[in-house]
Symmetry: C3
Subunit: 320 residues, 3 copies
């Protein structure tokens, strides 16, 4: 594996899930794979799980970790080509990416979207520049439109949660449901979840209010239902996530009904397990009576972030 | 040892002091005790000594260290139960503590008090939540009402400073004196110092202006004298520290006289050694002529932070 | 080597260059030199290259690294002697430096000038205090008036770039040219570059607009030409850097002509290689058509930061 920018960079997802689960059983099986290798973790935005699970994963592999909060520790970066840099940005990504590549063997980057300029966000300005100018592999720690380490984590967790379905010899029904949130959030997580589900043998449904359909190029032929109750029926796994409108790009538009996921709503499911990437706003996105119940798989899911990252870094180290 | 939340978590303080002093002599005697273990250092507030001495201690034991400045690196945490999280706080401690417990083998946390809401501060909202929801040991890096790593450090330092008393076969006289400060400061350090002194064989006196008596439940039967000169008489060790009023909770109330500790004031002592947890405001809390003299033990004291932390982490690792 | 505060702390620069280049070939040749030693990296200001290359260098030597963003992680420091500390600064450098010396075997510090008070900047208040009060070696990560790790890096890079001159048996012509910048910048980098050139067997010229002459005590007998085109003639290496006025201290004064370095201007050189310490503002300081051409050596130069730092730390560890 050269870069890890999308869930599609994993050639065989089923094999990857198995290998990641082996790492979960034996975290230090490859404790020397990263000897004398350094990963640079570059944050343009806040992070808890991604920051610590990736750092942990790298150290489990014996790597050195250097973390940079780009905007506060370092210089503001310019990404546009040909600019006269006479304003606030002190360094161009062309230099930064090449320089960082000399100090690090892998660069992992988090950079959220503007949610104001759809074209710019979809162009993945930061990641395009890093992959173009860096001379080492790039790992996506959440970009404008994708969060593939979360996507892979979700695949691992889903496998763990659907043992019963496999025993019964049937496809699990997985429902991605939109839920409310006071702020406008990116599409990275749902996008990567959708792309991940398209690669697994599941019965997949998306439910969201009118006006909240995801990018049709990503959702493709996924079944989208605007009635949450109908969508949840017989679900084995319910993945909850807010996102801002894609059509009315990056805005919170009024929607009908209450989309918060509650214990009551889950009654129509097959005692579904509930996933969420975290952080989750309790009693806004998901009710306490779900998060504090046996139905919640969110902690297990967050724990799997380490094994997803460790599998990815290991694959990159092996090929690198 | 499960958690380290209070000086009283150390079962036998005298033995602990001796073991910590052995670590000071041989810092790397347990260099493998923490192999493949990770400590998470979580800071809600500023820190110099605590941050670096705990990091150093962990590394001396062979642990991996992951540091998180919670508010700037990550998400604002909600600690209240049952809240509708529709305001600025993005993540609940219930999730955060459980998630962090999967990435770290020990969580060490610094969270200062509000100094506005006494009940909330005394409830130790942050630490109560962490100990309730985390599934790994918690270490207190200074909470609203306690700074037990400082307390243990002070016990170690006091032992070093009172060799002469032991030779002479007499109890050392230890005086905790309040001193002025331009800002309202927490009670954590004096509280932990008082609790530590109550566990040692010392003649202990507290002196502070009227209106500055510490929480009577902590000070208990300690002798409190409102005349600083009288209190300092024949002291072997003088521990200087400012704190805000406990009765007029969290405020700086006017006081009579000048309570700054000076060389002149120390003349009535038995050439007392002067301790302070640092940072100290020179010529406000303690005069230059004390801090720059032989009387000052503040550097030695700060150095002992490493061994206090290392002893605590080692005990937790051994039981863990 | 005790401290590394100036390029003149390197006893024999030619030997040092060779040894650093050997480290570049074999980065892990001294991977145990720093075992059980800790470096503290203290940043009062932003940093990308210095932060990461020094961290990398220390880890290549097997050291532990503790990084502190002084102002945001810790307490504001007071550097003045005898002050009554009743304002915003919570800790005096006297304590901080002594305390840090107990946690770290080497302290490396970055502290930029005010550019407002020339006397204070030239007194190197921060570094003077650190070297006075710390009890461990101090490394300059850029002070008010010097950036000696950059200076040594530049010596290494210059050696690499002038192989042809050595073959032809002639001194390389090196030109330090001022270039425009929207903000007032320090003199640390040009100062250290000038001092470095004075120790090498090169034909050295400085070119800058009237009013921008560097401190004459540093520039000494260096040839200063106010006509950029004339200065660049036959240059083998062109070092580009902005600095604010030294006479009209710390200000951006109007200058005639366009001093930005372009491909066109380099035509009069001997196909000169172009150096810059980075970060560089494209199309203000240096044009894209230089930075994106074969002439640019800025990435190679930034890469050499690691070997300069590693050589310095290794020398300090050996003597320490």
């Amino acid at each position: 594996m050269k870069n890890y920018l999308s869930i599609t960079d994993i050639p065989d997802l089923d094999i990857a899930i198995q290998e990641a689960l082996e790492m979960k059983e034996a975290p230090y099986a490859f404790a020397k794979a990263g000897t004398q290798k350094t990963i640079g973790l570059l944050f343009f935005n806040s992070s808890l799980r991604t920051r610590l699970s990736t750092e942990k994963a790298a150290k489990n592999l014996g790597m050195e970790v250097m973390t940079l909060n780009v905007n506060s520790d370092s210089w503001q970066l310019e990404f546009e080509d040909g600019t006269v840099m006479d304003a606030s940005k002190a360094e161009h990504i062309k230099e930064a990416a090449q320089v960082l590549s000399q100090y690090c063997n892998i660069l992992a980057v988090r950079a959220f979207p503007t949610l104001e300029n759809k074209a710019q966000d979809e162009a993945e300005v930061v990641f395009t520049a890093f992959t173009q100018y860096a001379t080492v592999p790039i790992v996506n720690l959440e970009s404008s439109t994708a969060h593939p380490l979360q996507g892979f984590t979700d695949a691992i967790t889903l496998f763990e949660l659907t043992e019963q379905c496999r025993k019964e010899g049937r496809k699990p029904k997985v429902v991605l449901t939109w839920a409310p949130h006071p702020r406008a959030l990116p599409h990275a997580v749902p996008n990567s979840f959708v792309k991940t589900m398209q690669r697994l043998d599941v019965d997949f449904t998306i439910t969201n209010p009118e006006g909240y359909d995801l990018n049709p190029e990503i959702a493709k032929d996924a079944s989208i239902i605007h009635n949450q109750e109908e969508a949840l029926k017989d679900a084995d796994v319910v993945y909850v996530k807010n996102w801002s409108s894609y059509v009315s790009y990056g805005t919170v538009i009024p929607q009908e009904g209450n989309w918060m996921v509650t214990a009551k709503k889950l009654e129509v499911t097959k005692q579904a397990k509930v996933m969420h990437c975290l952080p989750v706003r309790r009693n806004v996105v998901i009710a306490d009576n779900v998060l504090d119940s046996e139905a919640s798989a969110v902690i297990q899911q967050a724990g799997n972030r380490t094994w997803a990252a460790q599998w990815v870094l290991h694959k990159i180290l092996k090929n690198g």
